[in-house]
Symmetry: C2
Subunit: 351 residues, 2 copies
């Protein structure tokens, strides 16, 4: 499947996907297949679970659009979201590898750490350790550790034809919030859609609460089988990971749009391709999914897993299935990504 | 103790030490006091232990002096050394947060990962996970996980007056090797001092074997009390952490010079201030230290912990105690550090 390249091929020529495929062979088989990684040893009936994310200034955040407290908060929540996507229901803490120029104001850094600790406090974790080094560009490499019950692991693999696709909340607010920040068009009236969207972007909540909700809705006699991932790289990408990468497809019956998006241009694009909503997207047996949706009104029934390899969306007007509106997932080594946000789509390319 | 600064003080104005002091208050008390961090939960009688290091190109390694396989090898060994300095005797694995420009050749990166996996293989660990992002500068943020027996933890604090100071091997080869690489003066005759020094710099060995050796030499009826740290930032810095930072001092009777250093100019400077030898430096009760030194001929008796706050070195000719030859530990935000190696001393400043 891999393309043929000269020995001096660059990382950008490979692209992120091929790069990750090549790096996978340095790890045990399947070790890099999920949002986070299970530690081999167990702690009674529990596994340690670990996730690493790197944020680079100008690529994943900008000092002009993101307040420093939000930079720290988002770094923690992105990592905790990866743990939640493996089935973690407990966060131990994070280590932080910080690279920054000597000229960086301490006040900015202090606020970043305040944001981290506030986010960790939400989940009972703490700052465990780290390293500080000089670097020409502000870089925040964070590793989070949590624990997961051996009988409650969520993996990207495991969807079956007929499973219902369910997500833990609406999608698109974070991306809309980022676009407002980028264009400096924020109406900060409390409660307004714009204020909600900016808050969703700056202070997302990782869904560590999904696992107990799944347990509470698990039908008796139904064994644990939950495929899932988080939607950090967008709902469409999450569906691709759960279905397309497993040789399956999906019929999407209804997009999980925020209620307040009614009439918003680009609503579908933000919902499908925006990313950073940090919700969980799950594939479950229909009876389990039905119970979950009855108990949890904030969850959305998105569609169903199919045997075809296509992701198809039902047109709300005609009722017909068609391909997803175009867009593309974030490629860390892609050529045309805006400098201001991890999942910022270059305006115009996604329509 | 903290200096008074304006609110807009920069990280460089603070310096690394004050920066770390300020960051400590974001973590639980004592959490950041050691080379690595214990995870709060236990695994039977074992604790998880975690360490994070960040390497930045041009600051901690250079594509001109360090072969890529050595970059990966050294990153693993530096982290494993931090685990060993907490008493770990088992490595689970590492996560790698990689930042690099798209133009980076894949062949370079592949060799870095090959070096990592080779180093992990030495200690039974594996690549657990990671993240890849675009960054203008190659950055390798690595987090290592290991385990330590609850009854065998090593901490920086705990030295007592009269303890013997023991290190697990000679010091200075790595620093001498780096200076040879920087000046392009390598005589690669196998077995020559120069070849040994370059190998010590490029392919150091973390001392995960020290813990079982300590156990084997522990006198009956003597409870576990081992203060220790690794010498990644130099022997003098390790002595400072074990003694000076605890309000104690040390008399250094004999420097652990490599046998082949006889007559080498700057031998003492490389030994005391060079760093990156990745040996363990320990403070032990004399009876325990004596047994250890009898069993382990590769270990060195360096000196003794004293009540004064001074680090004093015995002159081999006169037998008199005097201050350590001048030098300074690596400051990540210091103004005058060579670009080529983490602990490279600007030539001339250390004499």
């Amino acid at each position: 499947m891999g393309k043929v390249h000269s020995p001096s091929v660059s990382v950008a020529e490979l692209g992120e996907r091929e790069l990750l495929r090549r790096l996978e062979r340095f790890a045990p088989p399947g070790q890099l297949a999920d949002d986070a990684a299970l530690l081999p040893s167990t702690l009674g009936s529990r596994h340690g679970v670990i996730s690493t994310d790197v944020l680079v200034e100008g690529r994943h955040f900008s000092q002009t659009t993101t307040p420093p407290e939000s930079v720290g908060w988002r770094a923690v929540m992105a990592n905790v979201s990866d743990l939640a996507a493996m089935g973690a229901d407990q966060v131990v803490g994070v280590t932080v590898g910080l690279g920054c120029p000597g000229s960086l104001p301490w006040s900015w850094l202090e606020s970043v750490y305040q944001g981290m600790v506030r986010a960790l406090d939400c989940h009972g974790g703490c700052l465990l350790g780290g390293d500080c080094v000089e670097s020409p560009v502000v870089t925040l490499a964070m590793t989070a550790i949590g624990t997961v019950d051996q009988g409650g692991v969520i993996r990207r693999r495991g969807s079956r034809v007929g499973d219902w696709l369910v997500c833990s909340g609406p999608h698109g607010l974070s991306s809309y919030g980022l676009s407002l920040l980028l264009h400096g068009e924020v109406n900060s009236t409390p409660g307004s859609l714009q204020a909600q969207a900016v808050a969703a972007h700056c202070y997302p909540q990782a869904r560590l609460d999904v696992l107990p909700r799944l347990r509470a809705s698990q039908p008796p006699e139904t064994p644990w089988r939950v495929a899932g991932t988080d939607s950090s790289d967008g709902l469409a990408q999450a569906l691709h990971l759960l279905c397309g990468e497993q040789g399956l497809g999906a019929h999407v019956h209804r997009l999980p749009l925020p209620a307040a998006f009614m009439g918003l241009p680009d609503a579908e694009r933000h919902c499908l391709w925006g990313g950073e909503d940090f919700e969980l997207v799950l594939a479950l047996e229909p009876c389990w999914a039905r119970t979950l949706l009855e108990r949890e009104p904030g969850f959305h029934h998105v569609g169903v897993v199919t045997a075809s390899r296509h992701l198809l969306l039902k047109d709300t007007r005609t009722g017909k299935l068609g391909p997803l509106p175009p867009g593309k997932p974030f490629d860390h080594y892609g050529p045309t990504v805006s400098k201001a946000g991890k999942n910022a789509q270059p305006e115009g390319t996604a329509n």
